[in-house]
Chain length 219, copies 2
DNA sequence: GTCTATAGCCGGATAGAC
DNA sequence: GTCTATCCGGCTATAGAC
């Protein structure tokens, strides 16, 4: 990552420091909310500050620039999701289990519109090379892709997934489905059940590439 | 649509009017380029004007506001794509042929990064109810969805598509794949061949729901 | 139809008091 | 750590000359 400074969570000393940490946390939460609706460009630090109960300069005391605030937001989100996909600290899910893990992620996202909005908007904005989250976005995609690629490859080696399955296409399509469903869901949450749709997609993959014809594995 | 005024292409009278039309067209082209990279919010009318070879006020003479410029851009794009999907003025493609038409659209988009960028960015921005393109975006999705829904339903009636095929899920997934592939392609055009990936997706649908087991229909 | 000039707002960021 | 005050720049939009 090529982001400005770092923001280590402090090791809690005096009462004063605790207050500072609190403000910082509130600011990040507020930033997530606003970036997720208005996007990075569309949300002003003044608004974020207000929502966090600080003045604009108060906020800028914790984050030297708007980009730095964004960096903190991204670290925060990344931490949450990363933890989620690697299971509970053991080895990452492999083979079809990886798709089940993704289904779980979709289910979780269905209850967190802010995170979905944040991601959808940043993905679109940060496609431009100059954007402060551009590097993050590339990292995000490549790591997701390699995570899923490894999982599928492993499934093939263990004879769970058909050896003819076109790995890179499956990876790209799966990621596309995830992103695309979020986009639609954001536009009209009532029109679409992301978990249902994604499950349908995955069972389609099963019916084509599963070596052990189980009708559905994700209940 | 709830957009401000209208911009009829003039019926070409005097030399003066011709010049005006020319400027207007140049402005729309420039706006497409800039909106497609920086987004609507991110691009300023001053920049659009410069790119079109006008002053900022000169541009605003043709379009009373920035939102009006956006409206013109959307009309322009909509016209192009609508024409494309309804074939050459005859009835819209039905059954599997609809998916072939979509493949054609993807192929065309592969050569028009500006249109893809425009759409990806606006889709993300305009998810917010307040955005000037919000109504357009909803229209766009619902009309695409109903177009594809009709096509699939017709394919079922003619016995070309299996009656158990889950229509709405297929529609949502197909749209998701289209959007998601564009997003990935925009981030790294060399990493992904949209036509290949989409074709793989469609042949997956065939293998699951085609009643006449032809291996591939999209070459 | 196109320009210059300008109003008026809002954005990010800095200086410095408390 | 938090505030007020302020600078500076960019933005949309308007007024009015040519």
């Amino acid at each position: 990552m090529s982001f400005p400074p770092r923001y280590r969570t402090p090791r809690a000393r005096s009462r004063v420091e605790a207050a500072g940490a609190e403000s910082r946390a509130k600011a990040v939460r507020a930033a997530v909310e606003l970036f997720s609706t208005a996007g990075y460009r569309g949300a002003s630090i003044a608004l974020v500050a207000e929502k966090a109960g600080l003045s604009q300069s108060g906020l800028l005391h914790h984050f030297p620039s708007k980009a730095a605030l964004l960096a903190a937001v991204l670290e925060h989100r990344e931490a949450e999701d990363g933890r989620f996909l690697s299971g509970t600290d053991d080895r990452p899910p492999l083979g079809w289990a990886a798709f089940d893990a993704l289904t779980g992620l979709v289910a979780r996202n269905s209850n967190r519109p802010e995170l979905v909005g944040l991601f959808v908007r940043l993905s679109a904005e940060a496609t431009e090379p100059g954007h402060p989250a551009h590097a993050w976005l590339r990292d995000h995609y490549t790591s997701t892709q390699s995570w899923l690629t490894d999982a599928i490859r492993d499934g093939q080696h263990r004879g769970e997934i058909h050896p003819d399955a076109p790995i890179t296409a499956l990876v790209h399509l799966t990621v596309a489905v995830l992103d695309g469903l979020q986009q639609q869901w954001l536009l009209d949450p009532d029109d679409i059940d992301m978990v249902d749709e994604f499950t349908t997609f995955v069972s389609g993959l099963h019916s084509q590439w599963d070596t052990t014809p189980t009708t559905s594995s994700t209940a």
